[in-house]
């Protein structure tokens, strides 16, 4: 029969043993002959040990700290194996490995042709900038910034230059000392791309590159500006920051400002528009952040972007990227998702 560590029988046994110990000590105190000193010492120590043991059992029974003998003596089943994490394998690994030497120096900018691209109905093949750290830290998963703009819009319309060096240089300059992230440039054929940004593109990126599972940012330019804010609501588990950028002197519609004001408290949004064309809802600043972490959902001026000149359309996307690089998580290796390691000696802790 197995006696439970927290059961009443053990406590009763402890109390009885302690009482018997005291009774036996009294009874045997004057016996023992020449060994009396030894027997007395042993009896006293036995009584002390029994009393402490019984007290400990009573305390453990009341607080339920160690529910079993196995827990007490660490004879538990072997701890679950640590979730050994190998460098995640993605479908572009081999292709990227061949360009690692170049990529490790200054990052890599390339046309991305994922499976199912034709069904996305984009105006052009998406392009991807992978930061240099991607090639040197091969266990890390990188956050993603998705930038969407209309076909053929360039820096004059607040979008990017499709030339490789120009786009890559812009990202590198914006990244600066900040947080490295993968940047995906998407040319849309129409402003409403359906589930593209929310589900299809992230799913393909999961497959092709080492990307973080959450904490992404979206940047929408011009007619695509609402899309960036929409995706925050459609995929809150994936995206947590968005920037809506006005593409000229036209500013951003008031409905967009209202939409930005309704994002979740754990999300951030930034609106960048020229002062002259800014609607009344945008206030007097050249840029406003909405739902900034420190300020909650209220509109506020963003100090960092405010320092940038956004009068010129070509300055707005770099400012947006600088802001998003501060709004994404660090590149991290896949987390340990369960208990790990060999359980060391247990620590009792009082509990209520």
């Amino acid at each position: 029969m197995k006696v439970s560590l927290t059961g009443l029988p053990l406590l009763v046994c402890g109390i009885v043993a302690t009482l018997l110990g005291f009774a036996g000590t009294v009874f045997l105190w004057r016996r023992g002959g020449r060994w009396r000193l030894l027997s007395r010492t042993g009896l006293v120590l036995l009584c002390e040990a029994l009393a402490v043991f019984t007290g400990a059992v009573a305390t453990n029974r009341a607080l339920d700290l160690y529910p079993s003998w196995a827990t007490l003596f660490q004879k538990a089943a072997p701890p679950p194996p640590q979730n050994a994490v190998a460098d995640p394998a993605t479908s572009l690994d081999v292709w990227l490995k061949g360009r690692a030497a170049d990529g490790a120096r200054k990052g890599l900018y390339f046309d991305w042709k994922p499976t199912g691209l034709a069904s996305w109905h984009l105006a052009a093949v998406p392009t991807v900038f992978v930061p240099a750290a991607y090639f040197t830290s091969t266990a890390l998963q990188f956050p993603v910034v998705v930038v969407a703009a209309a076909e053929k819009s360039g820096p004059a319309q607040a979008a990017w230059d499709d030339k490789q060096t120009a786009a890559a240089d812009m990202v590198r300059a914006a990244e600066g000392q900040g947080n490295p992230a993968i940047v995906v440039f998407v040319r849309t054929a129409k402003p409403d791309t359906g589930p593209l940004l929310a589900t299809e593109l992230p799913t393909r990126l999961d497959n092709d590159l080492r990307v973080a599972p959450r904490g992404w940012a979206a940047v929408g330019i011009g007619a695509d500006a609402p899309m960036a804010l929409t995706v925050l609501g459609e995929a809150p588990g994936r995206y947590r920051a968005a920037v809506a950028v006005a593409d000229g002197g036209a500013g951003l519609p008031a409905t967009l400002v209202a939409k930005a004001g309704k994002i979740r408290a754990d999300q951030s949004a930034l609106l960048i528009a020229p002062e002259a064309a800014g609607s009344a809802a945008l206030g007097s600043g050249k840029s406003l952040c909405v739902g900034a972490p420190a300020s909650g959902p209220a509109l506020c001026a963003d100090s960092q972007v405010a320092q940038d000149s956004v009068d010129r359309p070509q300055d707005r996307l770099p400012a947006a990227l600088r802001w998003t690089f501060d709004e994404v998580p660090a590149p991290l290796a896949p987390p340990i998702t369960g208990p790990v390691g060999t359980a060391p000696a247990p620590t009792p802790a009082a509990k209520k």
Binding site: R40, D266, I336, A343, P346
Partner: protein
């Protein structure tokens, strides 16, 4: 010899054996009228020493008292305002400093500890602001429960070195005024305002003294046992301040008992508002990721977990972990800490490079040994080519 040291335990055990031998020896040798007095004193001495040995054994696990002054009720002096004292130097370049966390709004001023990740002191990072995890201990407990018993610094070093966690500052505050009185981290009616102290005051003081992010997504909470309750309760009550929270063997219903006293003075509504389970059932659920863990054989913990998680609704994002065995002990927390830290880091934003340099932690002082953990010795600068000095560890025994 400290009250949590092995040498103290052995010393008291030897004294206990000596007292038992002495009791047996002197029993028949004292025959005068005060003989019974001597015998009673000897028996009491044996009892006191056996209880003392048991107490030291428990204290060695919980590390509630690390100096004899604390045992006698003395309060240690924290470093002066703006000063820090290094108490642990990690092998990877991290360090733990003690500082005085003075609360302006709550009026509470207590010692606290900060884990500064590897690279924090490097010149190239003087513009970097780090995310922060606030780690709350259980009751009874102290920051030493994290730093000495759970060896949190080593786990943090490992996770950061492995890249599973971003370099993060971790704050270990004190959540009690009196080691025998549980604050539950709440604003007690007519009493200590620990909710304010651990949220508003702590963030303000830490942002002034360390280079940390100041936005919501740069802060999170973790706690064990009562600290787990604190973490979830504070994060839910102040979800505008925290990105995520993790509870290891915590509970989710406010309690009052002999250790807490009457925190709410009969105000049932206030008590409800400090119960996460009541909040998720009766108030809009905040957009807050929660990591809830316990051991399967921790019956009360499992019951609390099921009660709470069964009521959680979106936009709360719930991660639930139940380990097969371990009861309500540090063994469970130690095997869960790496995954909990990784999980929290995944929900927070990265270290931020600021245009302006942040506050610089004052050069560490190495004062007299009056602190809760022993300060590290001052070392001369290493000479080129010389072997690296061994890392200083907390509470040398």
């Amino acid at each position: 010899m400290r009250p949590n040291s092995l040498s103290a335990l052995i010393f008291v055990l030897l004294l206990g054996v000596g007292a038992a031998v002495g009791l047996g020896w002197m029993w028949n040798r004292v025959r005068s009228w005060w003989g019974w007095f001597d015998r009673v004193v000897a028996v009491l001495l044996c009892a006191v020493l056996s209880l003392g040995a048991a107490g030291i054994a428990v204290n060695r696990e919980l590390n509630l008292y690390t100096t004899w002054g604390q045992v006698l009720g003395q309060k240690d002096a924290a470093p002066a305002k703006g000063q820090t004292q290094t108490v642990i130097e990690g092998a990877g370049g991290s360090r733990v400093v003690e500082f005085n966390l003075a609360g302006r709004a709550s009026g509470i001023s207590l010692a606290a500890y900060a884990y500064l990740p590897p690279g924090y002191d490097a010149a190239k990072n003087q513009h970097t602001r780090y995310p922060v995890i606030e780690a709350v201990d259980g009751f009874p407990g102290s920051p030493n429960t994290w730093l000495v018993s759970l060896k949190a610094g080593q786990y943090l070093d490992n996770e950061i070195a492995a890249g599973r966690m971003a370099p993060t500052v971790v704050i270990f505050p004190t959540q009690v005024l009196d080691p025998t009185r549980d604050s539950e981290c709440v604003n007690a009616v007519g009493g200590a305002q620990f909710d304010t102290y651990l949220t508003t005051d702590l963030q303000q003081a830490v942002e002034e003294q360390f280079r940390v992010r100041t936005d919501r997504m740069g802060w999170s909470l973790i706690g064990t046992s009562t600290g787990g309750f604190c973490a979830v309760n504070l994060a839910m009550r102040h979800f505008d301040r925290y990105a995520a929270a993790a509870s290891l063997s915590g509970y989710f219903t406010a309690i009052t008992d002999s250790t807490t006293g009457d925190l709410y003075k009969g105000n049932a509504h206030l008590r409800d508002e400090n119960s996460p389970t009541w909040r998720v059932r009766n108030l809009p659920n905040p957009p807050l990721p929660l990591y809830i863990a316990t051991a399967a054989d921790d019956k009360q913990g499992v019951a609390q977990l099921k009660d709470f998680t069964g009521s959680v609704k979106p936009p709360i994002s719930l991660t639930k972990v139940i380990v097969p065995q371990g009861g309500h002990t540090g063994a469970v927390w130690r095997i869960l800490l790496p995954s909990a830290f990784d999980w929290l880091s995944g929900w927070m934003l990265a270290p931020q490079v600021d245009a302006q340099p942040g506050p610089v932690v004052a050069a560490p002082t190495h004062g007299p040994v009056t602190q809760r953990v022993e300060p590290c010795p001052v070392r001369p600068p290493a000479k080129p080519g010389a072997a690296a000095a061994p890392a200083c560890v907390a509470a040398k025994r």
